[in-house]
């Protein structure tokens, strides 16, 4: 007890002495990354669900359309991209919901760190455990859709790049709807139209690789979209979280 009391007085006299600015942010962001990763890895089902969903949706298409490899090959880039996009959307609703329900979100808002950066850490975890695995899994499903050789690497790279933008944009929607009891469907309605540019250039990259046009331009545009999203989305996420916590 006495130790704590003496430090209370010290801090009251020198408010700035608590936590060094600059170093403190790195510590907080790192701890948030670590915490969210630990949380997700303790509930492995939630990490696996989007991947299983991805594989299932891809299985539906040959059954629903035709097993003809030539036909599948022409639509494979778009199918893989759309299915991955929907799979990433699936896990978006839970991005902030757990923290909202148990009160951690309030604490996140009151941390003496920029909320945008802490939100970014949470989005990064979402990408690491959803977007990245989807990108790594896509080539395997590409084989099942007879995706022409030479486009597999581009498929994985475009998905890895694009899904980072999707996580960032989607997090805005998740932050806006986290205070609503049934925000799930609304979230898709808000977010899907905003996903379209990423889809166009992502699927376009794979298409271009198949045609042998070189996908560098597409990947560059995907990178530019990601840079833009990285600059703007964290602020929108922070503002949205502040709105939701007041709801």
């Amino acid at each position: 007890m006495s130790k704590a009391d003496s430090s209370v007085q010290r801090d009251a006299a020198h408010p700035a002495a608590v936590g060094e600015p600059g170093g403190g942010l790195a510590v907080a962001v790192w701890a948030t990354l670590k915490r969210d990763l630990t949380l997700m890895l303790r509930r492995r089902g939630e990490v696996l669900n989007p991947l299983v969903f991805f594989a299932l949706v891809i299985t539906l298409f040959p059954i629903g359309i035709s097993p003809d490899p030539e036909l599948l090959a022409t639509i494979a880039p778009g199918l893989l991209w759309v299915a991955a996009l929907l799979a990433a959307l699936l896990s978006l609703d839970s991005l902030f919901r757990g923290d909202y329900d148990d009160g951690s979100l309030e604490q996140l808002l009151l941390a003496p760190q920029p909320l945008a950066m802490l939100g970014l850490a949470k989005v990064a975890v979402h990408w690491l455990l959803t977007g990245l695995p989807l990108a790594l899994m896509a080539p395997v499903l590409g084989i099942m859709l007879a995706l022409p050789a030479g486009s597999y690497l581009i498929l994985a790279i475009s998905l890895a790049l694009g899904s980072a933008s999707l996580s960032l944009i989607g997090a805005i929607g998740a932050a806006l709807t986290v205070g609503l009891s049934r925000g799930g469907v609304l979230l898709s309605l808000l977010v899907l139209p905003l996903y379209i540019p990423v889809l166009i250039f992502g699927a376009g990259a794979v298409q271009a690789a198949i045609l042998g046009d070189g996908a560098a331009a597409h990947l560059a545009i995907l990178g530019a979209l990601l840079a833009l999203a990285l600059m703007l989305a964290p602020w929108a996420i922070a503002a949205s979280l502040r709105i939701s916590i007041n709801g």
């Binding site: 709807t177 139209p193 540019p197 166009i200 376009g204 709105i243 939701s244 709801g247």
Partner: protein, 246 residues
């Protein structure tokens, strides 16, 4: 400038000033739309390729213009509301959203009907129509989000943020859809926006566009006035206003 912003803070002031402006916009809207319609339907020459079906342009293009402008105005209102906490701005934003969705619908519907004589099909994934369709979904998202909150203040803020996010995305969506379309373009020509349209064709179009804008302003003023009364119904000036008009 500050004085003006401070005046805007008062819904009562907006209510008074809009009462004087409103008739002018109604008159302008009615006159411009009437002149533009008669001119466009009966007097403008038929298009050498599309014949008379091209007259759909006089409703399709003004609606499309308005649909985009309304989204921008909604985002600007959202920004004004978030930065200066001017409630009238949020009321305007709430009132224009359905109007914008309606305009998007008109432009989609007229575009689809126009597609039959031009392309021989009701729907073509034309760049403009596709962008319009996405815009329609964006409108539905903003309207749905505003309706989903129990607290009106939170709903207003959330809708403002979404409108601003949307307006940043609209040019990106538009350019990426244009690019996507040129990549997959089938061998048809785009229906609107050709260069070298003669004056007899674009003059009525201009008049119709102006008429639609006047209509938009008039409807927005009118509905915002209603919204002011609704939200301020417990304020004294509204009570007095209601008391006077027996």
């Amino acid at each position: 400038m500050w004085a003006f912003i401070n005046k805007l803070r008062s819904p009562k002031w907006f209510y008074a000033i809009s009462e004087r402006l409103l008739p002018w916009f109604w008159v302008a809207a009615a006159a411009l739309i009437l002149v533009g319609s008669v001119w466009g339907l009966a007097f403008a020459p038929a298009d050498y390729q599309q014949g008379n079906s091209f007259r759909i342009i006089y409703v399709h293009v003004p609606a499309a213009f308005l649909a985009q402008s309304i989204f921008v105005s909604m985002a600007v209102c959202g920004l004004v509301y978030m930065v200066w906490k001017i409630k009238v701005a949020d009321m305007v934003a709430a009132m224009v959203a359905p109007l914008g969705a309606a305009m998007t619908f008109i432009s989609l519907f007229s575009g689809a009907v126009w597609g039959v004589p031009t392309w021989g099909t009701w729907w073509m994934w034309d760049a403009r129509l596709t962008s319009m369709l996405i815009l329609f979904f964006l409108y539905l998202g903003v309207i749905a989000l505003r309706g989903a909150f129990a607290s009106r203040d939170s709903a207003s803020r959330a809708a403002s943020v979404l409108a601003m996010v949307g307006v940043i995305n609209i040019p990106i969506i538009k350019y990426s859809v244009d690019w996507w379309y040129t990549l997959h373009q089938p061998a048809t020509f785009t229906v609107t926006g050709r260069v070298g349209m003669p004056m007899e064709m674009w003059a009525p179009l201009l008049i119709m566009v102006l008429g639609f804008y006047s209509f938009f302003i008039a409807v927005t003023l009118m509905r915002t006035r209603s919204e002011i009364l609704r939200r301020e119904s417990n304020k004294r000036w509204v009570r007095e206003l209601a008391g006077e008009r027996h």
